[in-house]
Protein backbone atom coordinates (compact mmCIF):
# COMPACT_ATOMS: atom_id res chain seq x y z
CA UNK A 1 0.00 0.00 0.00
CA UNK A 2 1.40 3.39 -0.98
CA UNK A 3 1.59 6.55 1.08
CA UNK A 4 -1.77 7.79 -0.24
CA UNK A 5 -3.49 4.53 0.74
CA UNK A 6 -2.29 4.85 4.31
CA UNK A 7 -3.73 8.33 4.79
CA UNK A 8 -7.13 8.51 6.44
CA UNK A 9 -10.35 10.02 5.18
CA UNK A 10 -10.06 12.75 7.81
CA UNK A 11 -6.69 13.76 6.34
CA UNK A 12 -8.14 14.23 2.85
CA UNK A 13 -11.16 16.12 4.21
CA UNK A 14 -8.84 18.42 6.20
CA UNK A 15 -6.54 18.93 3.19
CA UNK A 16 -9.48 19.78 0.91
CA UNK A 17 -11.01 22.22 3.41
CA UNK A 18 -7.59 23.81 4.01
CA UNK A 19 -7.04 24.32 0.27
CA UNK A 20 -10.50 25.81 -0.19
CA UNK A 21 -10.06 28.12 2.81
CA UNK A 22 -6.65 29.22 1.49
CA UNK A 23 -8.19 29.94 -1.93
CA UNK A 24 -10.98 31.90 -0.23
CA UNK A 25 -8.40 33.91 1.70
CA UNK A 26 -6.59 34.70 -1.57
CA UNK A 27 -9.91 35.82 -3.12
CA UNK A 28 -10.55 38.15 -0.18
CA UNK A 29 -7.03 39.57 -0.47
CA UNK A 30 -7.51 39.88 -4.23
CA UNK A 31 -10.72 41.85 -3.61
CA UNK A 32 -8.90 44.32 -1.42
CA UNK A 33 -6.03 44.89 -3.89
CA UNK A 34 -8.19 45.13 -7.06
CA UNK A 35 -8.18 48.68 -8.40
CA UNK A 36 -10.83 49.08 -11.08
CA UNK A 37 -14.61 48.53 -10.52
CA UNK A 38 -14.66 45.71 -13.09
CA UNK A 39 -11.65 44.03 -11.47
CA UNK A 40 -13.77 43.31 -8.33
CA UNK A 41 -16.13 40.91 -10.13
CA UNK A 42 -13.69 38.09 -10.66
CA UNK A 43 -12.43 37.68 -7.03
CA UNK A 44 -16.00 38.20 -5.72
CA UNK A 45 -17.42 35.48 -8.00
CA UNK A 46 -14.54 33.12 -7.19
CA UNK A 47 -14.96 33.80 -3.44
CA UNK A 48 -18.69 33.04 -3.56
CA UNK A 49 -17.99 29.83 -5.51
CA UNK A 50 -15.45 28.80 -2.90
CA UNK A 51 -17.87 29.56 -0.01
CA UNK A 52 -20.52 27.45 -1.79
CA UNK A 53 -17.98 24.64 -2.24
CA UNK A 54 -16.89 24.71 1.40
CA UNK A 55 -20.38 24.85 2.95
CA UNK A 56 -22.32 22.90 0.32
CA UNK A 57 -20.04 19.91 0.01
CA UNK A 58 -19.45 19.64 3.73
CA UNK A 59 -23.09 20.15 4.73
CA UNK A 60 -24.45 17.84 2.06
CA UNK A 61 -22.10 15.09 3.12
CA UNK A 62 -23.04 15.51 6.76
CA UNK A 63 -26.78 15.56 5.98
CA UNK A 64 -26.50 12.43 3.82
CA UNK A 65 -24.54 10.62 6.55
CA UNK A 66 -27.09 11.68 9.13
CA UNK A 67 -29.92 10.39 6.95
CA UNK A 68 -28.20 7.04 6.43
CA UNK A 69 -27.53 6.76 10.16
CA UNK A 70 -31.18 7.55 10.95
CA UNK A 71 -32.33 4.83 8.54
CA UNK A 72 -29.99 2.33 10.17
CA UNK A 73 -31.22 3.33 13.65
CA UNK A 74 -34.87 2.93 12.61
CA UNK A 75 -34.14 -0.53 11.24
CA UNK A 76 -32.25 -1.43 14.43
CA UNK A 77 -35.15 -0.20 16.60
CA UNK A 78 -37.71 -2.19 14.56
CA UNK A 79 -35.57 -5.31 14.80
CA UNK A 80 -35.09 -4.81 18.51
CA UNK A 81 -38.83 -4.59 19.08
CA UNK A 82 -39.40 -7.83 17.15
CA UNK A 83 -36.63 -9.57 19.07
CA UNK A 84 -38.05 -8.27 22.36
CA UNK A 85 -41.32 -10.00 21.58
CA UNK A 86 -39.57 -13.21 20.54
CA UNK A 87 -37.48 -13.29 23.70
CA UNK A 88 -40.58 -12.56 25.77
CA UNK A 89 -43.09 -15.06 24.46
CA UNK A 90 -41.44 -16.96 21.62
CA UNK A 91 -39.43 -19.24 23.89
CA UNK A 92 -42.06 -20.30 26.43
CA UNK A 93 -40.84 -23.34 28.41
CA UNK A 94 -42.09 -26.74 27.29
CA UNK A 95 -45.13 -28.20 29.04
CA UNK A 96 -43.50 -30.41 31.71
CA UNK A 97 -46.25 -32.94 31.44
CA UNK A 98 -46.45 -33.19 27.65
CA UNK A 99 -43.03 -32.22 26.27
CA UNK A 100 -42.87 -32.27 22.47
CA UNK A 101 -40.24 -31.39 19.91
CA UNK A 102 -40.89 -27.95 18.46
CA UNK A 103 -39.60 -25.54 15.84
CA UNK A 104 -38.22 -22.50 17.64
CA UNK A 105 -38.45 -18.99 16.21
CA UNK A 106 -35.14 -17.44 15.16
CA UNK A 107 -33.92 -14.11 16.45
CA UNK A 108 -33.47 -11.47 13.72
CA UNK A 109 -30.13 -9.93 12.92
CA UNK A 110 -30.35 -8.54 9.37
CA UNK A 111 -30.65 -4.90 10.50
CA UNK A 112 -27.70 -5.38 12.84
CA UNK A 113 -25.64 -6.86 10.01
CA UNK A 114 -26.64 -4.02 7.66
CA UNK A 115 -25.85 -1.37 10.27
CA UNK A 116 -22.41 -2.86 10.84
CA UNK A 117 -21.38 -3.35 7.19
CA UNK A 118 -22.83 -0.04 5.90
CA UNK A 119 -20.27 1.93 7.89
CA UNK A 120 -22.83 4.51 9.03
CA UNK A 121 -21.44 4.28 12.55
CA UNK A 122 -17.81 4.41 11.46
CA UNK A 123 -17.35 8.04 12.49
CA UNK A 124 -15.82 8.69 15.88
CA UNK A 125 -18.29 8.64 18.80
CA UNK A 126 -20.13 5.46 17.91
CA UNK A 127 -17.54 3.00 19.22
CA UNK A 128 -19.70 1.75 22.09
CA UNK A 129 -22.70 1.06 19.84
CA UNK A 130 -20.58 -0.75 17.26
CA UNK A 131 -18.93 -2.94 19.92
CA UNK A 132 -22.31 -3.77 21.45
CA UNK A 133 -23.84 -4.58 18.07
CA UNK A 134 -20.97 -6.95 17.34
CA UNK A 135 -21.53 -8.75 20.67
CA UNK A 136 -25.28 -8.89 20.06
CA UNK A 137 -24.80 -10.21 16.54
CA UNK A 138 -22.38 -12.94 17.68
CA UNK A 139 -24.71 -14.00 20.50
CA UNK A 140 -27.73 -14.19 18.19
CA UNK A 141 -25.75 -16.16 15.62
CA UNK A 142 -24.55 -18.60 18.30
CA UNK A 143 -28.04 -18.99 19.77
CA UNK A 144 -29.68 -19.56 16.39
CA UNK A 145 -27.07 -22.20 15.57
CA UNK A 146 -27.84 -24.01 18.84
CA UNK A 147 -31.53 -23.94 17.91
CA UNK A 148 -30.63 -25.58 14.58
CA UNK A 149 -28.82 -28.33 16.47
CA UNK A 150 -31.71 -28.75 18.91
CA UNK A 151 -34.22 -29.18 16.12
CA UNK A 152 -31.95 -31.61 14.29
CA UNK A 153 -31.51 -33.61 17.48
CA UNK A 154 -35.21 -33.64 18.41
CA UNK A 155 -36.72 -34.19 14.96
CA UNK A 156 -34.31 -36.62 13.34
CA UNK A 157 -34.45 -39.27 16.09
CA UNK A 158 -36.96 -40.31 18.72
CA UNK A 159 -35.90 -38.35 21.79
CA UNK A 160 -37.26 -39.30 25.25
CA UNK A 161 -39.30 -36.61 27.06
CA UNK A 162 -36.66 -36.27 29.80
CA UNK A 163 -34.13 -35.26 27.19
CA UNK A 164 -36.47 -32.70 25.64
CA UNK A 165 -37.03 -31.24 29.09
CA UNK A 166 -33.31 -31.27 29.89
CA UNK A 167 -32.55 -29.30 26.69
CA UNK A 168 -35.36 -26.86 27.44
CA UNK A 169 -34.24 -26.40 31.02
CA UNK A 170 -30.64 -25.82 29.97
CA UNK A 171 -31.85 -23.16 27.53
CA UNK A 172 -33.92 -21.41 30.21
CA UNK A 173 -31.59 -21.76 33.18
CA UNK A 174 -30.52 -18.59 35.00
CA UNK A 175 -27.32 -17.31 33.43
CA UNK A 176 -27.89 -19.50 30.37
CA UNK A 177 -28.11 -18.60 26.69
CA UNK A 178 -31.56 -17.03 26.79
CA UNK A 179 -30.71 -15.09 29.91
CA UNK A 180 -27.53 -13.74 28.30
CA UNK A 181 -29.42 -12.71 25.15
CA UNK A 182 -32.06 -10.89 27.19
CA UNK A 183 -29.34 -8.97 29.03
CA UNK A 184 -27.60 -7.98 25.78
CA UNK A 185 -30.90 -6.93 24.23
CA UNK A 186 -31.58 -4.72 27.24
CA UNK A 187 -28.13 -3.11 26.87
CA UNK A 188 -28.78 -2.34 23.18
CA UNK A 189 -32.18 -0.87 24.03
CA UNK A 190 -30.72 1.21 26.84
CA UNK A 191 -28.07 2.65 24.51
CA UNK A 192 -30.59 3.38 21.74
CA UNK A 193 -32.97 5.05 24.19
CA UNK A 194 -30.18 7.01 25.87
CA UNK A 195 -27.70 8.19 23.30
CA UNK A 196 -29.64 7.72 20.04
CA UNK A 197 -33.08 8.76 21.21
CA UNK A 198 -34.08 10.67 18.08
CA UNK A 199 -37.86 11.08 17.83
CA UNK A 200 -38.26 8.38 15.17
CA UNK A 201 -36.22 5.87 17.17
CA UNK A 202 -38.11 6.54 20.40
CA UNK A 203 -41.48 6.10 18.64
CA UNK A 204 -40.39 2.81 17.10
CA UNK A 205 -39.10 1.46 20.42
CA UNK A 206 -42.46 2.16 22.02
CA UNK A 207 -44.37 0.09 19.48
CA UNK A 208 -45.46 -3.43 20.39
CA UNK A 209 -43.56 -6.13 18.56
Amino acid sequence: MGLLGRLSRQFFAAATIACLLAALGICVWWLTVARGRDDHFEPAASGLALVAAITGVYAERRAAARERRAQALYALADELVKNTELLGTGFAPLDRFAPRARVYPRLMQSATDAALVSGVFSEPGHGELVALLHRWRDAVHDFNRRLDLTELRTYVSRVPPEELLAIDEAMHRPGGQLDGLRRLRSSVEELLRGRYAEPGVAVRLQQPG
Partner: protein, 378 residues
Protein backbone atom coordinates in the same frame (compact mmCIF):
# COMPACT_ATOMS: atom_id res chain seq x y z
CA UNK B 1 -16.39 -17.06 76.51
CA UNK B 2 -15.36 -20.27 78.24
CA UNK B 3 -18.15 -19.79 80.81
CA UNK B 4 -20.71 -19.34 78.04
CA UNK B 5 -19.65 -22.62 76.48
CA UNK B 6 -20.09 -24.28 79.81
CA UNK B 7 -23.60 -22.86 80.15
CA UNK B 8 -24.53 -24.37 76.80
CA UNK B 9 -23.02 -27.69 77.82
CA UNK B 10 -25.13 -27.68 80.98
CA UNK B 11 -28.39 -27.55 79.03
CA UNK B 12 -28.89 -31.36 78.84
CA UNK B 13 -28.65 -31.47 82.61
CA UNK B 14 -31.18 -28.64 82.96
CA UNK B 15 -33.55 -30.46 80.59
CA UNK B 16 -33.86 -33.37 83.00
CA UNK B 17 -36.39 -31.17 84.76
CA UNK B 18 -39.50 -31.77 82.65
CA UNK B 19 -40.62 -28.16 82.97
CA UNK B 20 -37.94 -26.85 80.62
CA UNK B 21 -37.64 -27.02 76.86
CA UNK B 22 -34.89 -25.59 74.73
CA UNK B 23 -35.82 -23.78 71.50
CA UNK B 24 -33.57 -22.47 68.74
CA UNK B 25 -34.91 -19.27 67.23
CA UNK B 26 -33.68 -19.06 63.66
CA UNK B 27 -34.86 -15.62 62.53
CA UNK B 28 -35.79 -12.13 63.64
CA UNK B 29 -39.37 -12.17 64.91
CA UNK B 30 -39.89 -8.44 64.32
CA UNK B 31 -39.39 -9.12 60.60
CA UNK B 32 -42.20 -11.64 60.76
CA UNK B 33 -44.49 -9.03 62.30
CA UNK B 34 -43.68 -6.70 59.40
CA UNK B 35 -44.73 -9.52 57.05
CA UNK B 36 -48.12 -9.80 58.76
CA UNK B 37 -48.77 -6.07 58.58
CA UNK B 38 -47.70 -5.97 54.92
CA UNK B 39 -50.31 -8.64 54.13
CA UNK B 40 -53.00 -6.63 55.86
CA UNK B 41 -52.03 -3.41 54.09
CA UNK B 42 -52.81 -4.72 50.62
CA UNK B 43 -55.37 -2.85 48.52
CA UNK B 44 -59.12 -3.45 48.59
CA UNK B 45 -60.37 -6.49 46.66
CA UNK B 46 -63.91 -7.82 47.14
CA UNK B 47 -62.93 -11.17 45.54
CA UNK B 48 -60.66 -12.22 48.42
CA UNK B 49 -57.34 -11.64 46.65
CA UNK B 50 -56.33 -8.44 48.47
CA UNK B 51 -55.63 -8.28 52.19
CA UNK B 52 -54.53 -11.56 53.71
CA UNK B 53 -52.97 -13.29 56.65
CA UNK B 54 -50.25 -15.45 55.13
CA UNK B 55 -49.89 -19.10 56.03
CA UNK B 56 -48.06 -19.69 59.27
CA UNK B 57 -49.23 -16.50 60.92
CA UNK B 58 -52.65 -18.04 61.51
CA UNK B 59 -50.82 -20.16 64.13
CA UNK B 60 -48.41 -17.47 65.38
CA UNK B 61 -49.23 -16.56 68.92
CA UNK B 62 -50.79 -18.12 71.97
CA UNK B 63 -54.46 -17.38 71.15
CA UNK B 64 -54.12 -18.94 67.70
CA UNK B 65 -52.32 -21.98 69.11
CA UNK B 66 -55.03 -22.61 71.70
CA UNK B 67 -57.76 -22.03 69.11
CA UNK B 68 -56.09 -24.50 66.74
CA UNK B 69 -55.83 -27.17 69.47
CA UNK B 70 -59.56 -26.70 70.14
CA UNK B 71 -60.45 -26.85 66.41
CA UNK B 72 -58.60 -30.15 66.00
CA UNK B 73 -60.88 -31.70 68.61
CA UNK B 74 -64.11 -30.13 67.39
CA UNK B 75 -66.85 -32.67 66.74
CA UNK B 76 -68.16 -30.41 63.97
CA UNK B 77 -64.77 -30.39 62.21
CA UNK B 78 -64.33 -34.06 61.37
CA UNK B 79 -61.67 -33.55 58.68
CA UNK B 80 -58.86 -32.82 61.10
CA UNK B 81 -60.15 -35.01 63.93
CA UNK B 82 -60.45 -38.09 61.72
CA UNK B 83 -57.15 -37.35 60.03
CA UNK B 84 -55.43 -37.40 63.46
CA UNK B 85 -57.33 -40.48 64.61
CA UNK B 86 -56.48 -42.54 61.52
CA UNK B 87 -52.87 -41.40 61.21
CA UNK B 88 -51.32 -44.32 63.17
CA UNK B 89 -53.05 -46.86 60.94
CA UNK B 90 -52.08 -45.06 57.75
CA UNK B 91 -48.48 -44.61 58.91
CA UNK B 92 -48.15 -48.33 59.69
CA UNK B 93 -48.71 -49.04 56.00
CA UNK B 94 -45.68 -46.94 55.11
CA UNK B 95 -43.25 -47.47 57.97
CA UNK B 96 -41.94 -50.72 56.42
CA UNK B 97 -40.59 -48.72 53.51
CA UNK B 98 -38.22 -46.61 55.60
CA UNK B 99 -34.45 -46.97 55.35
CA UNK B 100 -32.76 -49.27 57.89
CA UNK B 101 -31.04 -48.14 61.08
CA UNK B 102 -31.74 -45.24 63.43
CA UNK B 103 -33.89 -42.49 61.99
CA UNK B 104 -34.05 -38.83 62.89
CA UNK B 105 -37.38 -37.10 62.59
CA UNK B 106 -37.87 -33.48 61.44
CA UNK B 107 -41.48 -32.35 61.67
CA UNK B 108 -42.25 -29.25 59.58
CA UNK B 109 -45.28 -27.59 61.16
CA UNK B 110 -45.93 -30.20 63.89
CA UNK B 111 -49.46 -28.96 64.66
CA UNK B 112 -50.77 -30.36 67.94
CA UNK B 113 -48.05 -33.03 68.00
CA UNK B 114 -50.45 -35.99 67.99
CA UNK B 115 -49.31 -37.28 64.61
CA UNK B 116 -45.68 -36.80 65.60
CA UNK B 117 -46.39 -38.88 68.67
CA UNK B 118 -47.77 -41.73 66.53
CA UNK B 119 -44.70 -41.63 64.30
CA UNK B 120 -42.19 -41.37 67.14
CA UNK B 121 -43.98 -44.14 69.02
CA UNK B 122 -43.65 -46.46 66.02
CA UNK B 123 -39.92 -45.65 65.72
CA UNK B 124 -39.40 -45.94 69.48
CA UNK B 125 -41.07 -49.37 69.65
CA UNK B 126 -38.48 -50.64 67.17
CA UNK B 127 -35.61 -48.89 68.93
CA UNK B 128 -34.93 -46.71 65.89
CA UNK B 129 -35.70 -43.29 67.32
CA UNK B 130 -33.03 -40.64 66.79
CA UNK B 131 -33.34 -36.88 67.23
CA UNK B 132 -36.73 -35.15 67.10
CA UNK B 133 -36.61 -31.70 65.47
CA UNK B 134 -39.99 -29.94 65.22
CA UNK B 135 -39.87 -26.77 63.09
CA UNK B 136 -42.53 -24.08 63.22
CA UNK B 137 -42.91 -20.31 62.96
CA UNK B 138 -44.74 -20.28 66.30
CA UNK B 139 -42.87 -20.89 69.57
CA UNK B 140 -46.15 -21.63 71.37
CA UNK B 141 -47.07 -24.25 68.79
CA UNK B 142 -43.64 -25.86 69.21
CA UNK B 143 -44.03 -26.13 72.97
CA UNK B 144 -47.52 -27.58 72.64
CA UNK B 145 -46.47 -30.05 69.94
CA UNK B 146 -43.38 -31.14 71.80
CA UNK B 147 -45.30 -31.87 75.02
CA UNK B 148 -47.90 -33.90 73.13
CA UNK B 149 -45.47 -35.69 70.83
CA UNK B 150 -43.13 -36.93 73.53
CA UNK B 151 -45.73 -38.21 76.02
CA UNK B 152 -44.79 -41.64 77.37
CA UNK B 153 -41.86 -41.97 74.99
CA UNK B 154 -38.24 -42.74 75.73
CA UNK B 155 -36.73 -39.88 73.75
CA UNK B 156 -34.03 -38.15 75.86
CA UNK B 157 -34.70 -34.43 76.27
CA UNK B 158 -31.26 -33.68 74.82
CA UNK B 159 -32.31 -35.38 71.56
CA UNK B 160 -35.19 -32.95 71.08
CA UNK B 161 -34.36 -29.70 69.32
CA UNK B 162 -37.33 -27.45 68.48
CA UNK B 163 -36.53 -24.78 65.88
CA UNK B 164 -38.59 -21.61 65.54
CA UNK B 165 -38.28 -20.70 61.86
CA UNK B 166 -40.42 -19.97 58.82
CA UNK B 167 -39.56 -22.93 56.60
CA UNK B 168 -41.22 -21.43 53.53
CA UNK B 169 -38.26 -19.07 52.99
CA UNK B 170 -35.34 -20.40 50.90
CA UNK B 171 -32.62 -18.73 53.01
CA UNK B 172 -34.12 -20.24 56.18
CA UNK B 173 -34.16 -23.67 54.57
CA UNK B 174 -30.47 -23.38 53.75
CA UNK B 175 -29.73 -22.68 57.40
CA UNK B 176 -32.10 -25.39 58.59
CA UNK B 177 -30.46 -27.92 56.26
CA UNK B 178 -27.03 -27.03 57.64
CA UNK B 179 -28.29 -27.32 61.24
CA UNK B 180 -29.85 -30.73 60.61
CA UNK B 181 -26.78 -32.09 58.83
CA UNK B 182 -24.54 -30.89 61.67
CA UNK B 183 -26.85 -32.55 64.18
CA UNK B 184 -27.39 -35.93 62.51
CA UNK B 185 -24.38 -36.28 60.23
CA UNK B 186 -24.98 -38.69 57.38
CA UNK B 187 -27.69 -40.72 59.16
CA UNK B 188 -31.10 -40.80 57.45
CA UNK B 189 -33.81 -38.29 58.31
CA UNK B 190 -37.57 -38.55 57.91
CA UNK B 191 -39.10 -35.12 57.21
CA UNK B 192 -42.84 -34.62 57.50
CA UNK B 193 -45.33 -32.02 56.33
CA UNK B 194 -48.64 -33.31 57.64
CA UNK B 195 -52.23 -32.20 58.02
CA UNK B 196 -52.58 -30.76 54.49
CA UNK B 197 -50.25 -27.89 55.50
CA UNK B 198 -48.80 -27.74 51.98
CA UNK B 199 -52.23 -26.68 50.66
CA UNK B 200 -52.14 -23.53 52.82
CA UNK B 201 -49.46 -21.97 50.63
CA UNK B 202 -50.21 -20.02 47.46
CA UNK B 203 -47.21 -21.58 45.70
CA UNK B 204 -47.58 -25.11 47.01
CA UNK B 205 -45.65 -26.86 44.23
CA UNK B 206 -42.76 -24.43 44.51
CA UNK B 207 -42.63 -24.94 48.27
CA UNK B 208 -42.50 -28.73 47.92
CA UNK B 209 -39.80 -28.42 45.25
CA UNK B 210 -37.85 -26.09 47.53
CA UNK B 211 -38.11 -28.42 50.52
CA UNK B 212 -37.01 -31.38 48.40
CA UNK B 213 -34.12 -29.45 46.89
CA UNK B 214 -32.81 -27.88 50.08
CA UNK B 215 -33.38 -30.67 52.60
CA UNK B 216 -33.67 -34.10 51.01
CA UNK B 217 -30.54 -36.21 50.56
CA UNK B 218 -30.68 -39.60 48.84
CA UNK B 219 -30.89 -41.42 52.18
CA UNK B 220 -33.72 -39.19 53.52
CA UNK B 221 -37.49 -39.59 53.16
CA UNK B 222 -40.31 -37.06 53.14
CA UNK B 223 -43.73 -37.83 54.57
CA UNK B 224 -46.42 -35.68 52.97
CA UNK B 225 -50.08 -35.65 53.91
CA UNK B 226 -52.60 -33.90 51.68
CA UNK B 227 -56.37 -33.79 51.39
CA UNK B 228 -57.74 -35.33 48.21
CA UNK B 229 -60.91 -35.19 46.15
CA UNK B 230 -62.39 -37.58 43.62
CA UNK B 231 -64.82 -35.04 42.16
CA UNK B 232 -63.88 -31.74 40.65
CA UNK B 233 -66.98 -29.75 39.86
CA UNK B 234 -68.73 -26.76 41.39
CA UNK B 235 -70.81 -28.99 43.67
CA UNK B 236 -67.68 -30.66 45.05
CA UNK B 237 -66.08 -27.25 45.61
CA UNK B 238 -69.14 -26.08 47.54
CA UNK B 239 -69.13 -29.26 49.63
CA UNK B 240 -65.41 -28.78 50.39
CA UNK B 241 -66.05 -25.23 51.57
CA UNK B 242 -68.97 -26.45 53.66
CA UNK B 243 -66.68 -28.76 55.65
CA UNK B 244 -64.84 -25.75 57.03
CA UNK B 245 -67.90 -23.56 57.44
CA UNK B 246 -69.68 -26.01 59.71
CA UNK B 247 -67.20 -25.88 62.57
CA UNK B 248 -67.58 -23.13 65.18
CA UNK B 249 -64.17 -23.96 66.67
CA UNK B 250 -62.54 -23.69 63.26
CA UNK B 251 -64.19 -20.29 62.79
CA UNK B 252 -62.78 -19.19 66.13
CA UNK B 253 -59.37 -20.42 65.04
CA UNK B 254 -59.27 -18.59 61.70
CA UNK B 255 -60.47 -15.33 63.22
CA UNK B 256 -58.01 -15.54 66.14
CA UNK B 257 -55.27 -14.05 63.96
CA UNK B 258 -57.56 -11.10 63.09
CA UNK B 259 -58.24 -10.60 66.77
CA UNK B 260 -54.53 -10.65 67.47
CA UNK B 261 -53.24 -8.36 64.71
CA UNK B 262 -56.12 -5.91 64.24
CA UNK B 263 -58.65 -4.07 66.39
CA UNK B 264 -61.52 -5.38 64.26
CA UNK B 265 -64.81 -6.09 66.00
CA UNK B 266 -65.30 -9.62 64.73
CA UNK B 267 -68.69 -10.74 63.50
CA UNK B 268 -68.74 -14.47 62.79
CA UNK B 269 -71.48 -13.99 60.18
CA UNK B 270 -68.99 -12.04 58.05
CA UNK B 271 -66.88 -15.16 57.65
CA UNK B 272 -67.37 -17.14 54.44
CA UNK B 273 -65.70 -20.18 52.95
CA UNK B 274 -65.53 -20.11 49.17
CA UNK B 275 -64.90 -23.26 47.15
CA UNK B 276 -63.34 -22.88 43.71
CA UNK B 277 -62.12 -25.29 41.05
CA UNK B 278 -58.39 -24.74 40.45
CA UNK B 279 -57.74 -25.97 36.89
CA UNK B 280 -57.64 -29.76 36.89
CA UNK B 281 -55.39 -29.98 39.93
CA UNK B 282 -57.45 -29.18 43.01
CA UNK B 283 -60.46 -27.72 44.71
CA UNK B 284 -59.39 -24.47 46.33
CA UNK B 285 -61.01 -23.23 49.53
CA UNK B 286 -60.61 -19.63 50.64
CA UNK B 287 -61.73 -18.61 54.11
CA UNK B 288 -62.60 -14.95 53.86
CA UNK B 289 -63.63 -12.23 56.27
CA UNK B 290 -65.79 -9.64 54.47
CA UNK B 291 -66.76 -6.19 55.69
CA UNK B 292 -70.54 -6.39 55.70
CA UNK B 293 -71.19 -3.38 57.92
CA UNK B 294 -72.23 -1.21 54.95
CA UNK B 295 -69.63 1.40 55.80
CA UNK B 296 -65.87 1.78 55.66
CA UNK B 297 -63.89 0.63 58.70
CA UNK B 298 -60.37 1.50 59.84
CA UNK B 299 -58.07 -1.32 60.92
CA UNK B 300 -55.33 -0.58 63.41
CA UNK B 301 -52.35 -2.85 62.87
CA UNK B 302 -49.72 -3.96 65.41
CA UNK B 303 -47.43 -1.08 64.36
CA UNK B 304 -50.25 1.39 65.24
CA UNK B 305 -50.77 2.32 61.61
CA UNK B 306 -54.31 2.29 60.23
CA UNK B 307 -55.56 0.88 56.95
CA UNK B 308 -58.87 1.36 55.17
CA UNK B 309 -61.26 -1.58 55.19
CA UNK B 310 -64.03 -0.46 52.82
CA UNK B 311 -67.48 -2.01 52.66
CA UNK B 312 -67.38 -5.43 50.89
CA UNK B 313 -63.57 -5.53 51.05
CA UNK B 314 -62.09 -8.85 52.21
CA UNK B 315 -59.28 -10.33 54.27
CA UNK B 316 -58.23 -13.83 53.28
CA UNK B 317 -57.70 -15.71 56.52
CA UNK B 318 -56.85 -19.17 55.23
CA UNK B 319 -56.22 -20.98 51.99
CA UNK B 320 -56.65 -24.71 51.60
CA UNK B 321 -56.96 -27.24 48.82
CA UNK B 322 -58.12 -30.76 48.11
CA UNK B 323 -55.99 -32.25 45.37
CA UNK B 324 -57.12 -34.40 42.48
CA UNK B 325 -55.11 -37.49 41.60
CA UNK B 326 -53.79 -35.79 38.45
CA UNK B 327 -52.98 -32.61 40.35
CA UNK B 328 -51.05 -34.51 42.99
CA UNK B 329 -49.06 -36.50 40.45
CA UNK B 330 -48.21 -33.34 38.51
CA UNK B 331 -47.07 -31.65 41.70
CA UNK B 332 -44.76 -34.53 42.62
CA UNK B 333 -43.22 -34.58 39.13
CA UNK B 334 -42.72 -30.83 39.28
CA UNK B 335 -41.10 -31.02 42.71
CA UNK B 336 -38.78 -33.78 41.44
CA UNK B 337 -39.66 -36.31 44.07
CA UNK B 338 -40.61 -39.95 43.62
CA UNK B 339 -43.23 -41.85 45.59
CA UNK B 340 -41.84 -44.71 47.69
CA UNK B 341 -45.13 -45.59 49.40
CA UNK B 342 -48.68 -44.32 49.63
CA UNK B 343 -51.82 -44.87 51.69
CA UNK B 344 -55.19 -43.35 51.03
CA UNK B 345 -57.99 -42.90 53.53
CA UNK B 346 -61.49 -42.44 52.11
CA UNK B 347 -63.18 -39.63 53.98
CA UNK B 348 -66.29 -39.38 56.09
CA UNK B 349 -68.54 -37.91 53.37
CA UNK B 350 -72.11 -39.09 52.79
CA UNK B 351 -72.88 -41.68 50.10
CA UNK B 352 -74.40 -39.07 47.77
CA UNK B 353 -71.73 -36.43 48.39
CA UNK B 354 -68.33 -36.01 46.73
CA UNK B 355 -65.58 -38.32 48.02
CA UNK B 356 -62.93 -36.46 49.98
CA UNK B 357 -60.05 -38.22 51.68
CA UNK B 358 -56.50 -37.92 53.01
CA UNK B 359 -53.48 -39.22 51.12
CA UNK B 360 -50.25 -39.99 52.95
CA UNK B 361 -47.18 -40.22 50.75
CA UNK B 362 -43.65 -41.33 51.53
CA UNK B 363 -41.38 -39.53 49.11
CA UNK B 364 -37.74 -39.80 48.15
CA UNK B 365 -35.67 -37.31 46.16
CA UNK B 366 -35.83 -37.82 42.39
CA UNK B 367 -32.86 -39.71 40.96
CA UNK B 368 -31.59 -36.44 39.49
CA UNK B 369 -29.71 -38.23 36.69
CA UNK B 370 -29.44 -36.20 33.54
CA UNK B 371 -30.22 -37.72 30.15
CA UNK B 372 -27.11 -38.87 28.36
CA UNK B 373 -27.95 -37.34 24.95
CA UNK B 374 -26.17 -34.24 23.60
CA UNK B 375 -27.59 -30.97 24.82
CA UNK B 376 -26.88 -27.93 22.59
CA UNK B 377 -27.47 -25.60 25.54
CA UNK B 378 -25.11 -27.25 28.01
Amino acid sequence: MAERDQAVHRIPEVLRDAGWTVCLVGEEQSGKLAQVTAGLRRGPDPSGSGKLITSGFSYWGLESTVAWAHACNDLYYPVMRESIASFSRRWRGLSERLPDGPLHYVSLGPGTGQKDQALLRSLDSRGRCGCYIPVDVSAEMLRLAQREALQHLHVPAADVLPVQLDFSMPANLDRLGTLIRRTVGSEPVVYSLLGNTLANFDSDTQLLALLAEKLLRPQDRFLLEVASTAGQDEAAARAAAQEYENSPRFREFVTSALLQYTDLQIDMNSLTCEGLVEDDRALKIKVIYRNRTGSELQLTLPDRSTVRFPDQDTIRLLLSRKYTRTGLEKMLVDARVTTVGETHEAGHTAFDGPAFGMTLLLLAPGDGTRPAGPNPFD
